[in-house]
């Protein structure tokens, strides 16, 4: 069943295309915004900016380290650079520079990692970013954004430009269905969105797993279990209030992310829950493993990142809650 079908979500275009449109709109309205790219403008979809605003587009070539530092220099001179490439290359190749030239200085640069997670599919594990959120997590001054649908992508691109300081945004190769209305998206950096109300447990998701969580919630509802779905689009600053409220009000939490469990969203949610209001938790994500080449849907199924996986975890955590 297509992602979002069970929850009645409308299909959308691939997120990287949504990102490209959002970025072009931003470049149009804000003359301080410039775009840096590492020979992948047709991949990340910064191509539209390259064509419409060639003087504000810098192709740095295959030199991600240099690109990050050049971006820092532009930011230091008052520009708002969007430093873009595939996440798997940008963060690993440019990490030293992200840390020194941007994070430590708190420089106002924006970093966009395209093709996050395993859903880039056939290019295989060398190109997949299954650790990007953990890596940016190691850069304390960075805000971390993981949009879940076209509306949150547009809102996130606007919000990150307005935010003073370093921001990382995860973009994706694949489509994520519409969850929120394009003209009334309740997105605010650091404020999780309750995408569905429910009292029996909370499913906390980010990125593509929010639609999967909504599907799972619809499946659980068929069995009389009402799940709250929390769209945790901002991993830093974490919305502690929403997480503690979820623990207190629903008594059980499942987290779902297209990322390694180690150092990802779930482990950070667990830290907050454990500290403030411990409740049973289950974690959907990649256990310590690299994946393989394949179609995105097949990969999500094989590696345990589907609505069905969330349903299993939800039932387990609700049983654990009732045993207490």
């Amino acid at each position: 069943m297509p992602l979002g079908d069970k929850a009645g979500l409308k299909p959308a275009k691939p997120m990287r295309e949504v990102f490209g449109e959002a970025l072009l709109a931003l470049v149009r309205e804000n003359e301080r915004v410039v775009v840096l790219d590492g020979d992948l403008s047709n991949t990340t979809k910064t191509l539209a900016v390259r064509e419409a605003f060639p003087e504000r587009f810098f192709n740095i070539g295959l030199a991600e380290s240099n690109m990050v530092s050049i971006g820092a220099g532009l930011a230091d001179c008052g520009f708002i650079p969007f430093i873009t490439s595939m996440s798997g290359f940008l963060l690993t190749n440019g990490y030293d520079q992200l840390r020194l030239n941007i994070a430590i200085g708190g420089v106002n640069a924006k970093v966009v990692g395209s093709h996050g997670g395993i859903t880039l599919g056939k290019d295989g594990p060398t190109a997949m970013a299954i650790e990007d959120l953990a890596l940016v997590g190691g850069l304390p001054s960075f805000v971390i954004l993981v949009p879940s649908d076209p509306a949150t992508m547009h809102a996130a691109v606007r919000a990150m430009a307005a935010w003073e300081g370093p921001v990382y945004l995860r973009s994706s190769r694949v489509a994520m269905p519409h969850i929120y209305p394009m003209d009334a998206c309740p997105f605010e950096i650091g404020k999780a969105i309750v995408a569905r109300e429910g009292d029996d447990l909370t499913i906390v998701g980010c990125g593509i797993m929010v639609a999967a969580a909504l599907d799972a919630a619809a499946m659980l509802a068929d069995e009389g279990i009402e799940a709250r779905v929390l769209d945790l689009h901002t991993l830093r600053p974490l919305d502690e209030r929403a997480l503690v409220a979820a623990a207190r009000e629903t008594g059980a939490i499942v987290t779902a992310e297209e990322h390694l469990l180690h150092g990802g969203m779930g482990s950070n949610v667990a830290r907050i829950v454990a500290e403030h209001y411990p409740v049973p938790m289950r974690f959907v994500g990649l256990a310590d493993t690299y994946t393989e080449s394949g179609d995105p849907e097949d990969l999500l199924a094989k590696y345990g990142l589907t609505a069905e996986d969330i349903v299993l975890a939800a039932k387990e955590v609700v049983r654990a809650k009732r045993r207490r």
């Binding site: 810098f58 530092s69 008052g78």
Partner: protein
């Protein structure tokens, strides 16, 4: 720009370089930690920049039209701190707090903590890339400021230096000048034996840069090269400055061990005496 500052003559710069070297030894001795060798090798270059070339305003370090300076070889920041203090960016008393808890002077320069520092440095090979970004900004904004970057010759082993060299050529960044403090020694040993970088002049030339070669301790040559760099149009300039690591202190000169260790009190006294009595 503060009006009371007058760019210095070569004889004045020579005297100022002695003061800068004195500050370097005193602050590293006080900290009992730091990198004297590469600070002393860059002392004449940095002095010429701060006291003759750079259009900066110590009263207004964030002046948008200022010239930018980045010491890409960030471990040599005592020379940077000395120049900033002597130029009036902050009180000289801070020099005695180098590397101490709560200081504005970190072990490697931090743009958030030190007035006049435009880019955080410390991991080698990055300051030059940031300098490319600043030079691009100048072009994009139609500003006439110049970006000056000092790199080490050991630092030229970092691949990102050559990524920056390619980019400088691509965008014809004639508002960017890189000065290689070619002292021939890196942390462990001599550059030529660790991982040779020569012929540096041919390398930079092959990357499309205008290349000048000078004695990095001859103040007249330094000034002439830096002023020439401002006149080269259509391409960035690289000044290869042949220097001596530890220059000005006999027992530190050309000795790898003085890359990153502090002098004892006795050694510091000898060093300060030598600097004071130098021609």
């Amino acid at each position: 720009m503060s009006s009371d500052f007058k760019p210095m003559s070569v004889p004045e710069l020579k005297e100022m370089a002695k003061i800068i070297r004195t500050d370097i030894i005193e602050m590293i001795h006080e900290a009992q930690s730091g990198h004297p060798g590469g600070s002393l090798s860059a002392a004449d270059i940095v002095t010429a920049l701060y006291f003759r070339m750079l259009r900066v305003d110590p009263e207004n370090p964030g002046w948008p039209d200022r010239d930018r300076f980045i010491l890409s070889k960030g471990h040599a920041c005592p020379v940077w701190y000395a120049a900033l203090a002597e130029r009036g960016f902050f009180d000289k008393a801070h020099l005695r707090t180098l590397r101490k808890l709560g200081s504005i002077l970190q072990g490697h320069a931090d743009m958030k903590k030190t007035p006049g520092v435009d880019m955080t440095v410390g991991s080698l090979g990055q300051g030059i890339c940031a300098g490319v970004g600043m030079a691009l900004s100048g072009k994009l904004r139609g500003k006439d400021y110049h970006v000056w970057v000092v790199v080490g010759d050991g630092e030229c082993q970092e691949g990102s230096v050559w990524e920056a060299a390619m980019a400088g050529n691509k965008w014809h960044l004639d508002n960017l000048t890189v000065i290689v403090d070619k002292n021939g020694i890196q942390n462990d040993w001599f550059v030529a034996e660790e991982m040779p970088v020569d012929p540096l002049n041919d390398k930079w030339r092959a990357f499309g840069w205008h290349v000048l070669e000078i004695d990095g301790h001859d103040m007249a040559q330094i000034v002439e090269a830096l002023e020439t760099a401002l006149t080269i149009k259509g391409k960035p300039t690289c000044v290869i400055a042949h220097t001596v690591k530890g220059k000005g202190v006999s027992f530190m000169e050309n000795v790898p061990a003085w890359h990153g260790k502090a002098p004892t009190t006795e050694q510091a006294e000898i060093a300060l005496k030598e600097i004071k009595e130098a021609a």
